[in-house]
Amino acid sequence: MSQQPSNREAIDDPPNPLGLDGIEFIEFSTRRPQALGQVLEAMGFRPIARHRSREVLLYRQGSMNIVINAHAEGLPEAVQPGEAPEIAAIALRVRDAGAAWRRAIALGGWAVPAQPEPMELHIPALHGVGRSRLYLVDRYREFSIYDVDFVPIPTVDPHPPAVTGLHWFGVVQYVGLDRLDDWTEFYGELFGFAALPEDTRFGILPRGRVLASPCGQFYLQLIEPELDAVDADPDETLHRIAFGTPDVRAAVRELTRRGVAFVESSGVHTEDRGALTQASLGGVAFELVYHPSPAA
């Protein structure tokens, strides 16, 4: 017998090379920030702060931050926010943003050149799917990035509680045909995501491959186009956000009271496992998924 217990099966801890620790914020870009703001408020978010130099608003509920970016000044026409809101970025919490960024670049990520104004934070970023970006944020414990770049809206509670325990569950990404493996490897290589078995399903929507974050706090779900819609629907985008809640029915009741409409068709309708809001503003929908509470 050896003195030390041997690791016969070479089982390591789940790899989390960047010290990933959940989602810091999700950014939408749109030319109609008020319209999207109304949708977010119906979902329980509150505007709490404005960006110092750009047309950017910070919304919050519970542990979730959503940034609406309507900043167009100085941007080329092609990258200005469009009418329909799109998910423009996911900001990931990491142990050391600089180190995480360098590691991702060394492995084949594309750097996004940052353009901070004087006294603003430089948040390292990578190109994600389509026109989207992946930010890496390490200042979320002692003080936050919002303390530097944002001015609080007076008289507003900076920490509005979550409606029926809503929290980040994940983000749904549309991918091209036969692109599930490409994107699975992309997120695996750069961030340590791991694909769950093919038949793993959360919520009520029937399709897609689920990738679990190495921190165990959220998921990405990759969805291919229907075979008969390949030519009409080739885009790759971050498509929608999913919120976890310990009680889907209670959440649907509360959100309905606030004016949110849910899809109630024969195929997709509210169940204990999940629900889907009706799309508005040209495609903004949110998914609710039964999920007791965010992982610690």
Binding site: G108, W110, G128, L177, D182, W183, T184, E185, F186, E189
Partner: protein
């Protein structure tokens, strides 16, 4: 006539891009392999070249060629990554889903296959957001990787969904690689096949292989390796390869002939392969593309 799977390569033809596109289309081809030079050498800039390609209606078989990428370190590696990114962006703008990368000839390149695989893995990761597959080709005068067998080994080590092989009949025949090794390759991982014949029986040295490859290739069926090219195509077809065949024909004489004349030679070759070798029949109208065909 079913020559949909065959295409020409701009490097075969003289003249400007517009003339090449027209000649290829008028010869009845539906696709064309493009070079970076076609784009960056365009008098109105590379984006104008992209517009011309799109207006031609031809599908882009692939975009070439990233050279000497793998095996470098330090600032040489950083430099090549920048070059690769530029090529990926042009490839993406063209709507091409295949970037051809050929094995390094650089004396500065290392030989450890795991290092080569790591670099190709990085290239593949860079290509993911742009929707591009990287086809890695072993040049028959590559410094460390100079046969399809070793190229396949590196691709397997890298193990990326969007990294596969380009098989070029010239390099297989020039290096005298036994043709039965093709059967050991996963057909799903062959992203491109380039075909050409050539005029000499033997090309033993790297120097001769390079010289022949760059000046004396001919279309399949026009040289002395007709049987070899036919066998390669038949093996690929038998094992389930259903991708594109591009004629990679560098030939100084063809650069001096009218474009329609050269394109007709290419067409004869495509018809010979499609009907004489692969025995393809005329496709049904509105042919459906089914996924996962094998």
């Amino acid at each position: 006539m079913h020559i949909d799977d065959f295409g020409m390569d701009t490097i075969t033809l003289a003249g400007d891009l517009r003339a090449k596109l027209r000649a290829v289309r008028e010869a009845g081809f539906g696709q064309i392999m493009l070079s970076a030079r076609d784009l960056v050498g365009h008098p109105d800039g590379w984006r104008a070249a992209v517009s011309e390609v799109k207006a031609s209606g031809l599908r882009v078989t692939g975009f070439q060629v990233l050279r000497d990428f793998e095996g470098l370190s330090g600032h040489l590696h950083e430099y090549k990554v920048d070059i690769a990114k530029g090529m990926l962006e042009m490839c993406h703008a063209l709507g091409s889903t295949v970037l051809l990368a050929c094995s390094s000839t650089s004396q500065h390149a290392g030989s450890d296959p795991d290092d080569l695989a790591r670099d190709l893995r990085k290239l593949a990761t860079l290509a993911v957001p742009l929707g591009i597959q990287v086809a890695y080709e072993g040049l028959s005068w590559g410094r460390h990787i100079n046969e399809v067998t070793t190229a396949w080994d590196v691709v397997c080590r890298a193990d990326r969904a969007n990294l596969g092989l380009c098989i070029d009949s010239y390099h297989v025949l020039a290096a005298k690689t036994p043709l039965d090794v093709i059967d050991t390759i996963d057909p799903q991982k062959i992203f491109l096949v380039q075909l050409s014949d050539f005029l000499w029986n033997e090309v033993p040295s790297f120097e001769e292989r390079m010289n022949t490859a760059r000046h004396f290739r001919v279309f399949p069926g026009e040289g002395v390796h007709t049987d070899g090219v036919a066998e390669i195509v038949m093996r690929l077809d038998r094992m389930g390869y259903r991708g594109d065949y591009s004629f990679e024909v560098f030939n100084d004489d063809y650069q001096g002939l009218p474009l329609p004349t050269v394109a007709q030679r290419a067409r004869r070759s495509a018809v010979w392969l499609a009907e004489g070798i692969l025995r393809r029949s005329t496709p049904l109208p509105n042919r459906m593309r089914l996924r996962g065909t094998s």
